[in-house]
């Protein structure tokens, strides 16, 4: 039998992720999300195909997810990021029952049962409790976002910062700096604030172990530690926490193909052409 390949395209608010899989991940690419999602999805997919040494015709099924999923003209199917995250985490870390995903502009909690999402909570209405909170406050401090987590661990005397509003927190940061608070102490306070906010939301789900942390937030060691302190136990972080949604999308594509084969159905697929769409819908 001819080998099958599955692609998952996850267009987040900040990053676009593509994986190509058969039994394992053959190639993955992470690029920033531009204002024109379709165009970029196109380029990131091409890059992933080159890495996997595959032609687009060889991809059996393409699933798009993330908030920009409708802007992927070459996808065969769109599936919500909740389902894709659930599938991806269940595959990578089967012992996980609760997923906390901290993205650039949203955060969510997902309850898993038998590898599927059974409940979720989400915040995409308020920047506090999302990656944006740290992005805005890092800029106010003149610290690179990538350094925030590491610096927070150097704190000796954590400063209390408001967790309810990013704008007010940014103002507080300036005030604390002028009062002479240490940079690391302020940054630790910011991580505490975002952890309070995320924990407060996810707690509504009745958190069960094990807990996985995914999304860009999982790459921030300060946030991992702050959330662990709130939870009272360690969290699991997948090797590449940005890719769980894309992996889940590819795996759900595989599930769809296997199911169709079993029933002897023919799947409808989009044309295998990586051109950008000229009309936005």
């Amino acid at each position: 039998m001819k080998s099958q390949y599955f692609a998952g395209v996850d267009i987040g608010s900040t990053m676009t992720k593509v994986v190509i899989m058969n039994e394992v991940v053959l190639a993955s690419v992470i690029g920033p999300t531009g204002p024109e999602h379709r165009k970029l999805a196109n380029q990131v997919m091409e890059e992933a195909l080159t890495k996997a040494r595959l032609a687009f015709e060889e991809i059996t099924y393409v699933v798009a997810t993330g908030y920009g999923r409708i802007n992927v003209p070459f996808a065969d199917k769109q599936i919500t990021e909740i389902s894709c995250h659930a599938r991806g985490v269940a595959h990578l870390l089967p012992e996980v029952r609760t997923v906390i995903d901290v993205g650039g502009q949203d955060s969510k909690g997902i309850k898993l049962k038998d590898g599927r999402a059974v409940d979720f909570v989400m915040n995409d209405k308020c920047a506090a409790g999302t990656g944006r909170f740290l992005e805005v406050t890092a800029e106010e401090l003149g610290v690179s976002l990538d350094d925030m987590g590491r610096l927070s661990l150097e704190a000796e005397n954590k400063v209390e910062i408001s967790s309810t509003c990013t704008v007010f927190a940014a103002q507080e940061v300036v005030a604390k700096l002028s009062e002479g608070a240490a940079l690391a102490d302020i940054i630790a306070g910011l991580h505490e604030a975002i952890a309070i906010r995320i924990y407060g939301m996810v707690r509504r789900l009745k958190i069960e172990r094990e807990v996985a942390l995914t999304g860009g937030g999982a790459k921030n060691i300060g946030l991992v530690k702050a959330l662990e302190a709130k939870l009272g136990f360690p969290v699991l972080v997948p090797p590449e926490p940005l890719l769980t949604g894309a992996i889940g999308a590819a795996l759900l594509g595989k599930d769809i193909v296997k199911e169709a084969e079993k029933k002897g159905e023919t799947l409808v697929r989009s044309e295998r052409r990586l051109t950008e769409a000229s009309i936005f819908t």
Binding site: Q105, A127, C165, T166, V167, F168
Partner: protein, 261 residues
Amino acid sequence: MVYVAGIDIGSAFSKAVILAKNRIIAYQVVPSGGNYKLTAKQVTGKTLAKAKLSLEDIAYTIATGYGAANVSFSSETASDISCLAGGVHYLFPDARTAIDIGGQFTRVLKLDERGKATAFLLSEKCAAGSGRFLQVIARVLQVALEDIGELSLKSKNRVDFNTGCAVFAESEAVSRVAEGAAKEDILAGLHRTLAAKIQTMVARLGVEPDCAVVGGGAKDVGLVKSIEAGLDCQLLVPEEPQIVAALGAALLAEEKVSKGG
């Protein structure tokens, strides 16, 4: 002549009012900046100069607002709610509802016929309900804060926002500008979003006419019109909406002096 002063140190602006015999002698408004102690001295000094008085001429001083504790020369401090209520009642004796749109918070008050606050709500948790929201977007659009009201009235095709969050609205405004939306249309959308937040607060308290709007936000004619449309009632706007709490503080000071003989 007995002179009294009211000083309101707000998060964005500081105001001072000097009263004599229940009449405003002089007032000043200055940006608060980062050093409230210094600002308190400056705004009072400027107001005294305008009235051609010195601090020794002032019989009683009441401080209020976010930074009231920084007014070292005040006789006492008073709550911003009671000062606002007193100031609104002085200007509009028939007002039973007052909306104060400040730099950091929005407050909604219910007043009785004597000018006492009987209930109030505060938008303290989120910048989206306050003047801060206007500042953030004015900066993105590169329009002076004092010009956004008039400009928004020229809107013919309002661009509505998908978010109530000031941070997300900032990025949304950037995207809309990039797509070529007109500044006035974006501003009209922004006013609608902020007005909706304020209306929700007013509705929770129950609007009772007459309704007055004060604070820096009341100087934004686009915002005032948007709230009027939402509440379906005319709003009373003072000539100088920013000094209402300082005026209320001065009125309280006058009361103290007259009671004390």
